[in-house]
Symmetry: C2
Subunit: 341 residues, 2 copies
């Protein structure tokens, strides 16, 4: 695409990290999507990322329509620099694109013994409580905390009842989905994973009003406001779609999509070793919690991804045929070697 | 109780704000609970609140076992001061008590054209996904954003499927609750609002694994870690119970309960008028969303509380008999005039 070597290496690192951590929906499977957006001139391969507004601990960045995979790490590096100097740093980002897994960016902070925050808005697929209109993305939020003897605690979650990736899996397998993930265009629960194609929408975390969907809506709104209303990106139904075959809205309210990242030094609050030893105690207590089924322990957030990473570093990353086909199509297009058969 | 006039006035303001905003569970109805904790020497009426650790934009505060109603505003004032100077401020609090409604504290930031954050941990009532053990509080988180012509957007939510106050209402009315709010001690859904008394537990937002209860658990964990692991307060099952008739755990891992508050200047990111005008546009778009039922519009977070405040400022705050009785008992105890009949 013409990315600089530095940007290409960084984007590769973000995508590979997703595959290593078992989040296949956000790894190299997305590469073809980025390329198609670049072909449509919606991704700029050589962005001039700039700081457009700044205080000692806050900033707004314009990503110049670059890959979110390089824009978000730029923002997080700036947040970390500010945190090193002043205790915390917060960066809102406009004019960006899909930033891969939020966990990658928060881990940059964790490696420096900081607490990491990352969120992004996304193409509208989710309806607010009481509505049947797709006005919000699955808008993920991520919080990451460095532990001592245990892996970091990483809460990385879509603010919808189910992430879009889970829906895609059900579509591929021809399976129904649980009630509470999707509604049809009349606003009734449906178990048809294809309901989005006929005017349906994803539901916020909580699924319905009785079970707290107004909270999932509130969390998604928080992500949208911090990422886009604060930075000058598009928000709500104006967020441009990820897929290249859908045109962005003709009446944008901002530039590209938005992210929000932050870093806080643990030792801005208490000595790092004290924090880590108490977080280890927290983890250990929750891991040993009494469980409903003897064979299903409590899962510490971030643990499954860490286990996948250990396994895949050893045994490699399995790719489904469709992804291999896409990658080989890209290899031919760009004149590089195809994957070994 | 011997509070200073300043602290008494502040605590009153926090409680009255809850009643005005229609959050009756967190208003003067709680006064008797605070008094009973004070009688048990678990609340210090004349705390010496101190900053124990600090950077330009972060701090840890020791509340000296004071009323959370005065400790949390102290913390928020410090966060706001830091934000005025450096763009943002973040304060973790230990050795505190119940802080009332989170919305009160975030509104302090909103009044200064800042974005407000507030969260607190609480007595363990909620089980993590896959567990039947009460290890987490309903751990609320609150985000507040100043708008222009509309009231501020305030997301103020328990991270459990239902707040404890809703359960108490069902108990009082002898009603069943929806499936997905509570499980019994075997970990099965129950609709009995009294199930907590026989070893049951509240469920995280999402209710079960299929509907994202691991996300509710993750959010609750985030609140617990930022509020208590970071500050040196008690976390998880060690959080002391709110009710005075239950003893705190004999093996505390910290001091009191914990809060976490923060403030970020809007103009640390973009001019305030630009932000407010786009947030107004966001609100206006969501208010006019297509709805499933013609008579139920999309509710903007914070809107119902603002409407209650307008109504109750005009028409007064209705009190249920039990609360009137408690207040008159307190009036007699402290030698002040009872409520007019």
């Amino acid at each position: 695409m013409g990315c600089s070597n530095e940007h290409a290496a960084l984007a590769t690192d973000v995508l590979l990290k997703a595959d290593l951590r078992g989040i296949d929906s956000h790894g190299v499977a997305r590469l073809i999507g980025y390329v198609r957006l670049w072909e449509n001139k919606r991704i700029n391969a050589r962005p001039n990322i700039t700081i457009v507004h700044e205080t000692p601990t806050t900033a707004t960045i314009d990503g110049d329509a670059g890959l979110g995979l390089v824009v978000a790490p730029f923002a997080m590096r700036l947040a970390i620099q500010k945190a090193e100097q002043y205790g915390s740093g917060w960066v809102s980002v406009r004019n960006s694109n899909h930033f891969g897994i939020a966990g990658y960016h928060t881990l940059m902070a964790v490696e420096k013994d900081m607490i990491g925050f990352a969120m992004t808005n996304a193409s509208p697929l989710v309806a607010p409580t009481f509505s049947n209109e797709r006005l919000l993305g699955t808008n993920p939020m991520c919080y990451a905390f460095p532990a001592g003897k245990y892996p970091p605690v990483i809460i990385d979650m879509a603010t919808s009842a189910a992430a879009n990736g889970k829906l895609e899996i059900a579509q591929r397998l021809g399976k129904q989905v649980p009630e509470g993930w999707i509604q049809d265009k009349e606003g009734d629960f449906t178990t048809d994973p294809h309901a989005l194609k006929s005017g349906g929408s994803l539901l916020p975390l909580g699924s319905d009003r009785d079970h707290g969907s107004h909270k999932g809506f509130g969390l998604s709104a928080t992500v949208d406001i911090l990422s886009a209303v604060l930075s000058g990106a598009n928000y709500g139904p104006w967020v441009p779609p990820f897929v290249a075959f859908l045109e962005p809205p003709a009446d944008p309210v901002g530039l590209g999509i938005g992210h929000f990242v932050g870093a806080m030094r643990v030792d801005g609050f208490r000595p790092v070793d004290e924090f880590k030893s108490h977080l280890d105690n927290w983890i250990s207590r929750f891991k040993s919690a009494s469980t409903i089924d003897a064979d299903q322990k409590v899962i510490i957030p971030g643990e499954p991804e860490m286990e996948a990473e250990a396994d895949r570093k050893q045994n490699g990353i399995p790719l489904v045929d469709a992804v291999v086909k896409d990658l080989n199509w890209l290899a031919e297009k760009f004149g590089v070697n195809p994957l070994a058969p």
